[in-house]
């Protein structure tokens, strides 16, 4: 019986191995092609895998997709990190039971909303409001509206992970601070948050990796043009957005254009896996120090 359970546990390792084997194996078909070079892949500023039916015209430089992902993620983090952390501080330090009873379920509901719904929300409400506020300064599909929606998506995650970290800070530290005459603000910002810093940093890293890997919101709201710019008002296809577009397109299995999605996927996997790994390691360290 124990052997069966151990097999279950080892199967999870098998999944990781499967992902790596699959990504390396399939992207080999891409990188091995004569139309693709590593140098162009990492430094090229044009990505036209979808637009060019003829393989000779296709340009495979991942920077436009990376910049798209970066724009959306940066905006999402600008929203999710401060507001998530402040909400967490409020929940763990100040909130009364009544407020908690409203706020906690609200955050859980937001966390449970399917991402495709938030994508639709971005197209329906956020995009038009941005256009209205700036008199059409934004494209219909733009990085900002997608970024805001992804930020909403990441907020509950940042909040609950940071709150766990804040909760783990021993009571004695707070009492010491109050005893020395600190105000609640000074106690939270100068004592509790630094004490929980590693947990908060890991929450940030995990949220970052979640935002990078987010798919449906950007597929709906960020547009389908891969642009190499830092302007958040323009269309910006992200790595995940490109994978979805390629899957939706009529490209035949076996063409270099089709396999380019695996090249993008392996880059995506390396980034998110690295972020999550660092986040988990930081989290583990901090857990040991307080329990």
């Amino acid at each position: 019986m124990v052997a069966v359970l151990a097999m279950c546990a080892l199967a999870t390792v098998g999944i990781t191995v499967g992902i790596i084997v699959m990504l390396v194996g399939q992207s080999w078909n891409f990188f091995n092609s004569e139309h693709v070079s590593f140098k162009e892949f990492f430094t090229g500023t044009e990505w036209t895998a979808l637009q060019s039916k003829n393989i000779d015209d296709a340009k495979f430089g991942i920077l436009p997709l990376l910049s798209g992902t970066f724009r959306v993620t940066a905006i999402a983090m600008l929203i999710a990190l401060p507001s998530g952390l402040i909400t967490a501080v409020y929940l763990s330090e100040f909130a009364s039971k009544k407020v908690r009873a409203v706020l906690k379920p609200t955050l859980e509901v937001i966390a449970g909303i399917p991402t495709v719904v938030l994508g639709y929300f971005a197209v329906l409400v956020i995009g038009p409001s941005l256009q209205w506020l700036t008199d059409g300064g934004f494209d219909a599909f733009n990085a900002t509206s997608a970024g805001i929606a992804v930020g909403i998506l990441c907020l509950p995650m940042v909040c609950s992970l940071s709150e766990d970290a804040l909760h783990a800070v021993p009571r004695a530290l707070r009492e010491g601070a109050y005893g020395l005459g600190c105000t609640p603000f000074e106690t939270s910002v100068k004592v509790v948050i630094p004490a929980a810093l590693s947990g908060i940093v890991s929450a940030f890293l995990l949220a970052f990796s979640r935002a990078v890997g987010e798919t449906m919101v950007v597929a709906l709201a960020a547009g389908t043009q891969a642009t190499y710019t830092m302007d958040p008002r323009t269309q910006s296809q992200t790595m995940t957005g490109f994978i979805v577009e390629m899957i939706k397109s009529e490209n035949e299995y076996g063409t270099v254009q089709y396999f380019s999605l695996y090249g993008v996927a392996i880059a995506l996997f390396v980034i998110t896996f690295g972020m999550t790994l660092i986040g988990q390691l930081v989290r583990r360290r901090y857990r040991e120090s307080y329990s």
Binding site: C8, I15, M22, T183, F185, T215, F273
Partner: protein, 428 residues
């Protein structure tokens, strides 16, 4: 320099270290400066508190705006047609999501059936069977870390894994191609050629297919055939060029075909139709989703098992129970409410997940029924919503909002069941 002038010159920054005023050192309880300073600090603290409340309320506000905007956009399409119809490109107004609801539930069922045993088994192994050997302990830690990492892998990458692992199975069993090959079929399918008879009106007979690589047949000689009721009989051939008149008896016409009549391939599948690789089937989609939710199930079950009081286990060991008996009779029953809650939350995630299904099944939404057999393709609610939301037609935009309302209601129902189960099991 007087105390007053210091307090007015220096900006009141709580971060700047200033010397303790002489008066306080002498024993005074407060000076003008310290009063001002503490007033300022209190003001900052109040402002911070206000900021906390404002930002926290913002999340509530966002949720309210989201729900209201979707309700406003979708309420006019919340009709019975939405629940009974299927996607239609010619008549957007009569489109519905019945196949998508059935499809989502079917996929969820497959997902639960595969992810729950695997996930709970893993959690039991990690929590209850902790080894003492240093190397095995390291392996334990590694598996734990690996699971947390899997939880952070983007779902679309799981979709790509499912595409290789379940849809194509690394092409180990041959590739599925339309009209050419169906991979390696195990059971649940009978293949025939469908040939029109002389009876007219679309009446046809079935001829068992022997060579799967031939998609069509041309009738040149009498051969065994099967009618719609499943009876085998000998098929007769009538040559229009010959002198024999066309048979007039309907019973004979029913068993006779014209010479040179062509027939196309026809597959009669039972619900348990099974083949390798799975192709773009709902079985493949469900198994892919089970990979996505597996880390969530494991982590929730682990936390639930961890929260079972050690004294319960110790009592069980004290009574002479073995490790396995303790797990089965003590730990697992005590942890079941938590595991169930985690499982249902994971199912909610699975129902709302669109990206992996999009990769595994493709973006097609033209299907007017739920899955007919294990290898049938399927439409799910999130994919349908994605398709409708991406369509510029206003009707589809409204339909997307209405479908979102249905999806959110189903999720709400599932979560209520989770809460109800948790309450009920706790009382018992």
């Amino acid at each position: 320099m007087s105390i007053d002038s210091i307090s007015q010159d220096a900006p009141q920054d709580p971060g700047v270290q200033r010397p303790i005023p002489e008066a306080i050192r002498q024993g005074a309880s407060a000076t003008a400066e310290s009063t001002l300073n503490s007033r300022h600090r209190k003001r900052v603290s109040k402002a911070f508190y206000g900021l906390c409340v404002a930002i926290s309320l913002l999340s509530v506000l966002v949720l309210v705006v989201l729900l209201i905007s979707i309700a406003v956009q979708g309420h006019s399409r919340l009709t019975p047609t939405l629940l009974t119809g299927s996607h239609s490109t010619s008549e957007p107004a009569s489109s519905g999501m019945y196949p998508a609801i059935i499809g989502s539930l079917a996929i969820c069922f497959v997902c639960a059936l595969s992810a729950l045993p695997l996930g709970i088994g893993t959690a039991i192994f990690l929590e209850e069977f902790q080894p003492t050997n240093i190397w095995l302990r390291r392996l334990h830690g590694f598996i734990n870390l690996n699971i947390s990492n899997l939880a952070g892998v983007p779902s679309i990458v799981y979709g790509l894994l499912g595409l290789s692992l379940f849809v194509f199975m690394f092409n180990a069993f041959g590739q599925i191609k339309v009209n050419e090959s169906s991979g390696t079929e195990i059971m649940g399918v009978e293949r025939y050629y469908q040939v029109l008879t002389l009876a007219g009106g679309g009446d046809s007979v079935l001829i068992p297919q022997s060579d799967l690589s031939q998609p069509t047949i041309t009738i040149t000689e009498p051969m065994p055939a099967v009618d719609r009721q499943g009876n085998t009989f000998q098929l007769e051939v009538w040559d229009p060029k010959s002198e024999t008149p066309k048979p007039s008896d309907p019973a004979i016409r029913h068993r006779t075909v014209r010479l040179g009549q062509g027939g196309g391939a026809y597959a009669k599948t039972s619900w348990y139709y099974f083949r390798l690789p799975f192709g773009r089937s709902f079985l493949a989609a469900g198994l892919t989703l089970s990979l996505v939710i597996l880390p969530i199930v494991i982590i929730a079950s682990q936390e639930s098992l961890r929260s079972v009081s050690p004294s319960l286990r110790e009592a069980s060991y004290g009574l002479g129970a073995t490790k396995w008996q303790t797990v089965r009779n003590v730990s697992l029953p005590a942890a079941i409410p938590g595991i169930m809650t985690g499982a249902i939350l994971a199912m909610g995630r699975a129902i709302g997940e669109a990206a992996p299904i999009l990769v595994v099944l493709g973006a097609t939404v033209a299907k007017n029924s739920g899955p007919q057999n294990l290898m049938d393709t399927v439409v799910t609610m999130p994919v349908l919503i994605f398709h409708w939301a991406g369509d510029p037609q206003f009707t589809y935009q409204q339909l997307a909002a209405a479908a979102i309302i249905v999806l959110l209601l189903i999720l709400l129902l599932m979560n209520s069941v989770a809460i109800y189960l948790r309450q009920k099991m706790r009382i018992e």
